[in-house]
Subunit: 359 residues, 2 copies
């Protein structure tokens, strides 16, 4: 099942990477999830989300999340068979109890429900609680854009971000994704409201590299450029007071709509100890059908894309452009995975077989 | 009708301000609009929005917009009598042709429609085209929060912002406001996706003060700290690539939903020459009714508000806190208006009477 590792690369100071292809990685993930009684569909959608993150160059939302997810399944904190229970609590509002299911399995089932309602309602929303980490948000809003709709996805998360002017972690990284369909592929924004991800801080720490000033504070709230100290501290919000305001508004919005907890009480996305109590909000809005509108959007994006840039070698990027380019490359050439992680996953796979997980 | 000016204050290098009270200013505005055949309700709601901006310390959205608005009415670019025509194009989606009406008059009429649908739909949206400038977005989402709903408002606007890494204005300032009801007053975020407003650049220019590095570029796309040069150039997006991405996503979102133009083709909010072709999106989402939820949100905001801060004299601010404090003060003590502007408005008022506008 597992194809041979293609190459070893010394990528930075301390880490060794292996290059794997998407199908190999996907098969490995599906196998590990199936061994834990995940349905074929659930294993597939969870694997797809992890692999998509790798393909797009966001390993913090990729395979490195898998060992923890498996441990959570083994401890009964995740139910790999369910897609949750969805109830229309109002004409255009779907309440989803994730029943401790995989984030992607629950969210994709919710999207199927939204799709049935969107042409009548014009706008429809699913709020999700008692579900696990969705992974990257971009694929969900891209799915909504396939229906000719604007997609919005917002998740709450554990306290990692300090308020603007503050010193201690009180906000989640509270990501938001927005997709707008155009005549070509949709424009897809997917951003955390922190200045950087905690995954990147961990990466700097593992690589023995200092982080830039202004990124983080240590556990005592002091500014730090030591990545190891930052891991137990707090990350700055992006964009100063405005980014902080946006993150805080999304924090409250998710809690008010999904009924879920606030960052300081949030558990279950970064540990293997607790049921996950974050929330997600998915909104689909039908775009106007006017002839020429989607073409007008594409043309505008091209104007921006090809507009003058301040640095000769740095052309203007449209959100999603770089991820799409990386994905195209990675589908052809594979992507790099931390060698120790890859070895761990293969070992888990063999171990599961020996332990008879594959029932 | 007009009470005496209370005091003259030398506020900065070149400008002289007068202190006026809200009722005086409101009466003046209503009078000027009524003289131009605005209905009582329309004059009132337009005046309220301008005065609210002054009370909250955002003069860029206050009285300084009035002379242009009056000129637009006089030229037939604004119809002061209409509240637009609203049509439910789907169960939860209201399409509003503003019929060239005042922004606040059209938007408030749309909100009345949304309110009738929200308890059945759970989520409902109004998209507005062919309407004029809404002013500050905060008051609209606050109105939605009064229904126990999360409110979201997004507007598109004329090209004033350069892409991240770009040099020329291609994006609007594309503001977004979000209100979340709590057990106390709602948390209200209201931000433009530019690093600063063009109004503030104009203020620096009029005051002969340099702007900070990184705020703006001149008409040729070169970085500048000269506020006068920046007026004909481009403002930076807030928060680098992320803020730019958000602004661009909102730009496309409004166009895709309201069918309105994109920033480079946008006219009619900063001139007295063209019909206004920007768009607005208003979304109301019913918050969950769980007992204790809104109290939990208030308590969390208090935790953030009173959390440790990096600078001794700069406590943590919750979005809306400062505006609320300024409003309370200004309701008591009045607010400052540029003396030349105030004189112009009073002169316009007398002139209109002489010209028999008051028919």
């Amino acid at each position: 099942m597992l194809r041979a590792i293609q190459s070893y690369i010394l990528y930075d100071l301390k880490r060794i990477y292996v290059r794997v292809d998407a199908d190999t990685a996907r098969s490995l993930v599906i196998g590990l999830l199936r061994q834990r009684k995940a349905s074929q569909d659930n294993a597939r959608s969870q694997a797809d989300l992890l692999i998509e993150a790798e393909l797009r160059g966001h390993p913090s939302h990729g395979l490195q999340r898998l060992p923890r997810l498996l441990a959570r399944v083994d401890r009964g904190l995740v139910d790999p068979r369910t897609t949750g229970v969805a109830t229309w609590v109002a004409d255009s509002s779907l309440d989803v109890d994730g029943m401790k299911g995989f984030g992607p399995a629950v969210a994709l089932a919710a999207l199927q429900q939204l799709e049935t309602r969107i042409s009548i309602a014009g706008i429809a929303m699913a709020t999700i609680h008692n579900s696990n980490h969705l992974g990257m948000l971009a694929p969900y809003v891209e799915k909504i854009a396939e229906w000719g709709c604007v997609g919005i996805a917002i998740s709450s998360s554990e306290a990692l971000v300090h308020p603007h002017g503050g010193t201690h972690a009180l906000l989640g990284t509270n990501p938001i994704a927005i997709a707008v369909p155009t005549a070509e592929r949709p424009m897809v924004l997917d951003l955390a409201t922190s200045i950087v991800s905690m995954g990147k801080i961990h990466h700097y720490a593992a690589s023995g590299i200092q982080i830039p000033q202004g990124w983080a504070r240590d556990a005592k709230g002091r500014p730090t450029i030591n990545a190891v100290d930052a891991k137990s501290g707090a990350i700055a919000p992006f964009g100063g007071a405005k980014g902080y305001g946006l993150g805080l508004a999304l924090e409250l919005l998710v809690a008010a709509l999904a009924g879920t907890d606030l960052a300081p009480d949030m558990r279950g996305t970064l540990d293997s100890e607790f049921v996950c109590n974050k929330g997600d909000v998915l909104i689909a809005i039908r775009a106007r059908p006017e002839a020429g509108l989607s073409k007008r959007l594409s043309e505008y994006l091209d104007v921006v894309r090809h507009s003058p840039h301040a640095e000769p070698d740095q052309p203007i990027a449209i959100p999603g452009d770089r991820a799409t380019a990386r994905r195209t490359q990675a589908l052809k050439n594979g992507f790099e995975v931390d060698a120790a992680l890859w070895t761990e996953l293969k070992s888990l796979s063999r171990q599961s077989v020996l332990e008879g997980h594959n029932s």
